[in-house]
């Protein structure tokens, strides 16, 4: 594919990932949020696929396909099962109201672009111009993680955050070895499984997935 198409595709996919991340701050229904997470994961994996195709690297393509199955398939399915378990876990309970969250997201995106100027100017390739978008997803995901009140939505925030980091990784270190990528993917999968088990236990023990219940340990 031509250089221009390649750059456009990268921009488009990263942009979709960022918009999906911002939309999770807007929607209230947990099922919709998990679906947005799936879209976002698909976009991030597709970015890896495009880069792999451009470099004609078989290992990168295989990895991207695996990542796609994981981020857009397995993990959202696990989360959906979780959401459907709890009767009161249908809507999110943000600690910051939606409009303020969206404005905060805009500010965080601006911050991400401002702080990564050194990264962008280091390399002249089209990948490095898209890295700030990845950083923006990281910050938005972190904000989402910190301001959500229900366990599944905090999990979604964590996964958004992690997808953002994966996007930056795929764009920046476009030469990191297969072993490391596999290890990372495995770690994420295990982390999600652990969190899923913990959420299930939380549902059993506390009877709800409200994180406000987790306030008994304090000084």
């Amino acid at each position: 594919m031509t250089r221009a198409t390649y750059a456009e595709l990268l921009n488009l996919l990263a942009g979709i990932a960022l918009v999906a991340a911002v939309l999770t701050l807007w929607r209230r229904k947990l099922v919709a949020i998990v679906r947005l997470l799936a879209v976002q994961g698909a976009a991030v994996a597709a970015t890896g696929l495009v880069i792999g195709i451009d470099r004609a690297s078989v290992s990168a393509i295989v990895l991207a396909t695996l990542a796609f199955a994981l981020k857009a398939g397995v993990i959202p399915l696990v989360l959906l099962r979780l959401v459907r378990r709890g009767p009161d876990a249908r809507e999110t309970q943000p600690l910051v109201n939606v409009s303020a969250s969206l404005v905060a997201a805009a500010l965080l995106i601006a911050l991400a672009f401002a702080s990564t100027s050194a990264v962008v100017s280091l390399s002249s390739g089209p990948e490095s111009r898209v890295i700030p978008l990845g950083f923006a997803i990281v910050l938005v995901g972190f904000f989402s993680l910190a301001t959500r009140g229900k366990a599944p939505s905090q999990l979604v925030g964590f996964l958004l955050f992690e997808n953002g980091v994966a996007l930056v990784a795929v764009l920046a270190a476009a030469g990191v070895s297969v072993v490391v990528e596999l290890g990372v993917a495995l770690d994420v999968l295990l982390a999600v499984l652990v969190l899923q088990v913990l959420t299930a236990r939380m549902q059993d023990k506390f009877g709800s997935l409200d994180l406000d219940q987790l306030q008994e340990l304090h000084d």
Binding site: L12, L18, V19, L102, V103, I109
Partner: protein, 315 residues
């Protein structure tokens, strides 16, 4: 300056004055058909306007000149915008002032005029409608500004006819994420500014749900005709702007009669299509609750902000 070139703004104004009510008629017809009714004919809004113009002019007891002047300001600002925006052609005598900021300011002038006019008689509904309208406007105006700014950055100029012309030359520029985000934000802002679903229901008179309808409650006769006409002109302008920013095909770049005719046809065709789509959309959408409207508008603001940032990076 050739005659045809000077005729462009006049042509555009006449078009939107006639096409505006027709658009409203199209939307109502589409909705009626989808809901299983026959519905009024498409030119019914024009007949309503004619009927209203023949009626006696009534002013409320405590209204001042603001109330009397507001419909005129609304219509004249809308007409001025119609003359400037590239609807039928990108060449016009006013092309060099047809700027992003000018257009937004003119549209805002109309909104504020109507809001002040509704506030003036001192009725409860009028005040309520104004305050709701200004809440919405406070979020839509920055969105309008930012989304058109994003498109301007991508095109390299803030002059709207030049933007449309450059998109005509490079249609693939539309597929970039920055452009698309700007268009989406602009679409949401359009729905909000023209008081259509899901932001505001144009067919309701319930206190809980009215925004625009609350503001025009006190107007009667010719004043009401002006207000309705002004709103429909604004809708036509927004839809025309959206269409030409997305798909500028058919717009006249030279002031020849044939090209202008083609441009007129293209414009009418595009906004009719958008009106039909809008009608279908309205059938399947519910109005969102009033306290959720700022959330939707904040989303469109963030999307337009994102579009600007992506546009800046993309250059």
């Amino acid at each position: 300056m050739s005659v045809t070139r000077a005729a462009v703004p006049i042509l555009q104004v006449v078009l939107v004055v006639v096409a505006g009510p027709l658009l409203i008629g199209v939307i109502r017809k589409v909705r009626a058909r989808l809901e299983g009714r026959v519905g009024a004919p498409i030119h019914q809004p024009l007949r309503d306007l004619r009927k209203l113009l023949t009626k006696e002019r009534l002013l409320p007891e405590h209204a001042s000149w603001v109330f009397a002047l507001a419909p005129a300001v609304l219509v004249s600002s809308a007409v001025a915008t119609a003359a400037l925006v590239p609807l039928v052609s990108t060449v016009s005598p006013f092309a060099h002032v047809s700027d992003l900021v000018t257009i937004t300011a003119l549209l805002l002038l109309g909104t504020v005029a109507l809001a002040l006019g509704a506030l003036d008689p001192g009725t409860a509904f009028g005040g309520m409608g104004s305050s709701r309208e200004m809440t919405i406007a406070a979020l839509t105006e920055p969105t309008l500004l930012l989304s058109i700014a994003a498109i301007s950055i991508l095109a390299g100029t803030t002059n709207l006819p030049a933007v449309v012309a450059s998109t005509l030359h490079r249609p693939e520029a539309v597929i970039s994420i920055g452009y698309l985000l700007a268009i989406v934000a602009l679409a949401i802002a359009t729905l909000a500014e023209s008081a259509r679903l899901p932001v505001d229901n144009p067919n309701t008179h319930l206190e809980l749900t009215m925004v625009h309808e609350a503001m025009v409650l006190e107007y009667a006769g010719p004043d009401l005709a002006l207000v309705e006409s002004g709103s429909s002109i604004r809708l036509a302008i927004f839809l025309g702007l959206l269409a030409n920013l997305l798909v500028p095909w058919g717009i006249a770049t030279t002031p020849s009669v044939a090209r202008l005719a083609l441009g007129t046809l293209a414009f009418v065709g595009k906004i009719s299509l958008l009106a039909i789509l809008l009608g279908v959309f309205e059938v399947f959408t519910a109005k969102i609750r009033l306290f959720r409207v700022p959330e939707l508008l904040a989303l469109s603001l963030v999307l337009s902000f994102l579009a600007v940032i992506i546009a800046v990076v993309h250059r």
